[in-house]
C-alpha cells in the first residue's frame, strides 16, 4: 500500500473514531443526549458506559478516546503533509507507537467488557474496530 494512501486512510478512520468518541463523551456529560444502542442482555451500551470500567484515571474512557483519536488524526495529517517534501521516519515511528498504545487500550477495554462488566457496548466495539484498522493500515504501508 502507498504511504500517502495509508495516511489518508488513517486520517479518515481517526476522523470517524473521533466522532464516535465525541458522541460517547457527550453522552457521559449530558443526560439529555439520547443513547442509540441496544439494551439487551449481552449488547448493552448503557450498562457498559455507566460501569466503573468506563472510568480510567478519573476520566471517562470516551474522553481518552477523543484524546487518542485527536492525536492520531494530527499525526496522520502531518505525515500526509510532509510526504510531499520528504520522509519523516521519527514521526512515522511515533505514529506506529501511538497505534500500538491504542491497540493495548483496546485489549484492556475488551477484557473489561467481557471479563468484568459481562456486556458489550456496540459503539465501543466500533471504536475498537477502527483502532485495529488503523494499526493494520500503519503496518501495511511499509
Amino acid at each position: 500500500m502507498q504511504r500517502r494512501t495509508g495516511d489518508r486512510l488513517v486520517l479518515a478512520l481517526a476522523g470517524a473514531g473521533l466522532l464516535i468518541a465525541g458522541y460517547l463523551t457527550l453522552l457521559h456529560y449530558d443526560s439529555s443526549v439520547p443513547l442509540a444502542c441496544s439494551a439487551g442482555s449481552f449488547v448493552n451500551c448503557e450498562v457498559v458506559l455507566t460501569s466503573p470500567s468506563a472510568m480510567v484515571a478519573g476520566l471517562p474512557v470516551a474522553v481518552w478516546g477523543v484524546a487518542w483519536f485527536g492525536v492520531a488524526l494530527v499525526l496522520a495529517a502531518v505525515l500526509l503533509r510532509d510526504a510531499a517534501t520528504g520522509e519523516t521516519p521519527r514521526l512515522r515511528t511515533l505514529s506506529r507507537a501511538w497505534g500500538a498504545a491504542g491497540l493495548a487500550g483496546v485489549l484492556y477495554l475488551v477484557y473489561q467488557e467481557v471479563g468484568v462488566v459481562g456486556k458489550i457496548c456496540a459503539w465501543c466495539t466500533a471504536v475498537h474496530v477502527i483502532i485495529v484498522a488503523i494499526v493494520v493500515v500503519q503496518s501495511a504501508d511499509g
Binding site: L107, G115, V116, V135, V136
Partner: protein
Amino acid sequence: MRKIVALIIAAVAVTIAVGMMHRRNAQQAATAAAATTAAAAQPVPAETMGELERIPDSAWGRAATQAATIPAFVGDSNFSNGKPVVLYIGAGYCPYCAAARWSMVAALSRFGKFADLSLGSSSPTDVFANTPTFSFYKSSYTSDYVDFQPVEEAGELQGLDGRYAPLQTPTPAQQSLLEKYDAPPYVRASGAGGIPFMLVGGRYMWSGSPFDPGVLSGKSQAAIAATLASGAGDAAQPILSNANEMTASICALDGGKPANVCSSAVIKRAIQSLPTKSP
C-alpha cells in the same frame, strides 16, 4: 501485513477467553458472597418489629402526608385473588431503597404481618453509605388485603469484580411492569429503570427515593423505630408521611379495608388527593 492481522486476532481472542474465564470465576465468587451475606442476615428484633406494627393513630395523624412523595398514576390494574398486588423492586446496596423500605414496612404492617424480615443497610461504598434498613430477601408477608411481591435484585456488598451479588430476578411479568411504568412519561428519562420501584395495584407508582435517606444516617434500626410512636422527628415524619400515602393507595384499591385503617381522617384525605390522571 498478514502476520500483523493474525497477531491482532490472536491477541483479541486470548483477551476474550481470559475475560470470560475471569467473569465465570467472579460470578461464582459473587454467588458465594451472596449466600454468606444471606446466612449472616440478622432478624429484626421483636421489639423493633413491634414498634413498626403498633404505630399509634396519633403518630399517623401527626405525620399526615405533609412529607409524602405523591405516586404517579399509571392506570393499569394488577390484582391477585382479588387483592391489589404491591410490587417492589429494589436492591440491598441502594440507599433510596433503604429509605423506601421503612415506609413500606410501616404501611404494609397495617394490612398484614411480616415474618423473617432481616436487618440490612445500604452499600458501605455508595452515597448515603450504610443507611439502616431491612431486607425483604427471604422474608414473607401474609395479608387478607394485599399481595406483596418484593424483589431484592442484589445484596449490599460488592464482589471482586465490583458488582453487587445477585439475589433475586423479577419474573418476566414484573420486569415488563418495571420497563413499562418506570419510564417516561411517568418518570424523567434520566431516571428510567431506576430503583426502588413500587407499583400498587398496577395503578399507583413510586420510582426513586420517597424521602432523603440522609435523615436515617448514623442511627440504628431500633433507634429509628423508637421515634415512630411520636410521629415527629426528622426520620419519623417522612417515614410515616410516605407510609400514609402508600396506605391510601392500597385503601383506594382494596375496597377500603381494613376499616380501622382506611376510614381514618388522614387516609380519607390522602385517598382524595391521589392522582387520577397519567402525567
